[in-house]
């Protein structure tokens, strides 16, 4: 085996060339990692929106709260289920909510975006302990008041503390801002369910959410509610319901990002190939010398492969470091499963780092393979004779 020190000194010899190759690889890895981080960030935001202890009921086949309609008496039927946990005062821990999309301009661009207005009950807050008021106060019933999630308050016109917005032929004041710990609720406006249903003339609910007394009994309860002939509903664990809301967009970004990165990587691989061929060409005599010292063809092959992979690994790590700065960035876009705006961060995970490193190494391996083979196949005599 040829000492690693030899390989590394070779890499350092031609600084400009090495830098160009490293930058090429790092750009590709940056794009790859960024796409995966975006996909993962969206997924984790929605997963964290749901709680393990809660279940959600929506109309059969409706896919999401946007399309769901639960009639009021059906909401009451679900509310009387014996499987629902009780609050300290003995009342059942469930909430009927209405989910409405309204158009509000984005502060940044003025473009209209679909914002969720969720009509909730006091129990909604008990069911989502992560949601905390951080500024202002709670809404008062019948007061045309709403509270805004912190991303919504920041991003959309009229949604900041003390600001007014108009929907349902009425003017509403944002009296409070809440923090939902980076979950999907951060992008929503919350108000009283009765008022919201009234102004939109929708005397219905979109969903019923409740705390399960015993989460192990979920399947039995799901079967009972879905077979109840008084209504046609789907029952999900809240966490699974929200996780499923990220499926289309997160999947699209993840897969699309990988395909684009692979096409993109072709250019960088060719760049690595050029560098490695030059590296071989510059050292023909050295290779001859090494061979005559007794190093095998395999040792030469491995040495050049290691050189290529060391370059691409450096590029890969640089790309990951660059991408990790994206973690500070928050993105808001329309979630395709709900048609509504959701804010989320780029988010790095160990799995993404590993995938990016592997991707970089594969690029080095593919780019370095042919040049390494050429080096290994040189004949000792010819190479010693080379100028």
């Amino acid at each position: 085996m040829i000492p690693l020190g030899y390989t590394i000194r070779n890499i350092l010899k031609h600084k400009v060339t090495t830098t160009m190759t490293i930058l090429g690889v790092s750009l590709v890895v940056f794009v790859f990692a960024a796409a995966q981080m975006l996909s993962y960030g969206l997924k984790s935001t929605l997963v964290s929106t749901g709680s393990d202890d809660n279940a959600i009921v929506i109309r059969k086949s409706s896919q999401s709260e946007v399309q769901s309609i639960i009639l009021r008496d059906q909401g009451q039927i679900v509310g009387t289920s014996p499987e629902i946990a009780r609050a300290a005062d003995g009342s059942a821990l469930y909430t009927n909510e209405i989910y409405v999309l309204i158009n509000q301009p984005k502060r940044a661009t003025g473009e209209l975006a679909n914002i969720v207005v969720r009509g909730v009950t006091p129990k909604s807050l008990e069911l989502r302990p992560a949601v905390k008021l951080i500024a202002g106060r709670m809404w008062q019933d019948a007061g045309s008041e709403v509270i805004a999630g912190k991303s919504a308050a920041e991003r959309y016109a009229g949604c900041g503390l003390g600001e007014k917005l108009r929907f349902g032929a009425r003017e509403w004041t944002v009296v409070g801002v809440f923090d939902a710990q980076g979950s999907g609720f951060d992008s929503e406006l919350w108000g009283d369910v009765v008022q919201i249903a009234d102004v939109f003339r929708r005397p219905i609910y979109s969903s019923v959410t409740f705390r399960m007394a015993d989460t192990t009994q979920f399947e039995a309860m799901k079967a009972r509610l879905e077979n109840d002939r008084r209504m046609e509903v789907d029952v999900f664990r809240e966490k699974e319901y929200y996780a499923a809301q990220s499926r289309t967009l997160a999947g699209f970004i993840g897969i699309g990002g990988t395909i684009v990165s692979i096409i993109f990587s072709l250019g960088a691989i060719v760049g690595a190939m050029i560098t490695m061929y030059a590296s071989v060409a510059n050292r023909v005599r050295e290779i001859g010398t090494l061979r005559s010292l007794g190093f095998s063809r395999l040792a030469i092959l491995i040495s050049f492969l290691i050189e290529a992979m060391a370059i691409s690994l450096t590029g890969g790590l640089l790309g990951i470091v660059g991408a990790s700065f994206l973690g500070m960035l928050q993105v808001a876009t329309t979630n395709w499963d709900t048609f509504s705006q959701i804010a989320f961060n780029f988010r790095l995970s160990t799995a993404i780092v590993i995938a990016a490193v592997v991707f970089a190494l594969v690029m080095g391996l593919v780019g370095g393979f042919l040049p390494a083979v050429r080096a290994a196949r040189l004949k000792i005599v010819d190479s010693l004779r080379a100028a």
Binding site: G24, V31, S61, M273
Partner: protein, 385 residues
Amino acid sequence: MKVFKLIIRNAMRHRLRTFLTVLGLALAVMAFGLIRTLVDAWYAGARIAPPDRLVTRHAVSFTFTLPLAYLEQIQKIDGVSAVTPAVWFGGIYIDPKNFFGNFAVDPVTYLDMYKEIIVQPEELKEVLADRRGAIVGRRLADRFGWKVGDKVPLIGTIYPGNWEFTIRAIYHGRDKDTDETAFLFRFDYLDEVMRETAPGRAGQAGWFGVKINDANRAAEIGAAIDSRFKNSWAETKTETEKEFVLGFIQMADVLIAGLRIISYLIIGVILLVLVNTMVMTARERISENAFLRVLGFRNFHLIGLILGESLAMACAGGIAGMGLLAMTSRLVGQALSIYLPGYYVGLETYVIVVAAAVIVGCLASIFPIQRAVSIKIIDGLRVVD
């Protein structure tokens, strides 16, 4: 002329390296073109919307419906020549993965307004004779192997229940960009079912397509429609069809922004590959260039030689890349045709590629030129690589 010969000879000195450089550039140019075309195709719907068509929808958001009675009132507004109701049905065919747009429309007035959707008159007659008749796009029919007469079940998401339609017509697009992936069925059928099962939801349209006499008056007529329903409990928002479609396209704003950024990063990769090769060349020719200067060649000769070589490779890469792009974009376009019609490379993309090649060719030669010109002749002659 001699200089050109020298440039070509120089470039051909390391055939493999030159070939790889051109290949690398060509692949990157292809990737750039494919991505840009994807962004263009995404906007196709908005690009082709004619200026004399408006859309009137509920002011709160597209999830709210408007009373069907608005149709006649819109019709009466000055400048409006036709109005047609439509609603987004959102049905699922077997599995959500099989997504395609399905709408309830009034076939006669709808086809009259959207002239780019071409249905054979005898097939249209069949649709009008069957309450559950559907008109499907050619590409959509190809995707699932549907023929006229086939029954298609849809699971309602917004309108509950299992619905069954019979394909009575297959439409073709008039233009290359026309969406041929839609599923249209009869509005009166949906309304009838609603009247029976959920009377509160009957007599409602998702939006109205509005055709106007004079495209220049679009803003004015739109405002007239909206003010007609101002302060009613269902206020309207009227915009041009282009704006309406853009609203949906914006749902992918993050992806489009991402693709745009990536396409510029790809130009960065092209630059890196070419700079790499040019730097290697410069290093090898230090003493040679010193000789040229001894022989009386001036700096501008050296600059011409290096710049010429760099530009030659950049242009060769650009041209080869355009060739690859023309080939691959056709394949990608076919693969995407069921989801995204209108995937073809625009002239603008080719122009950008050529411009980028020239700019990259110039940029990549800066460093080697600076090196070749700044070194003293005596130092250049002394270099042993």
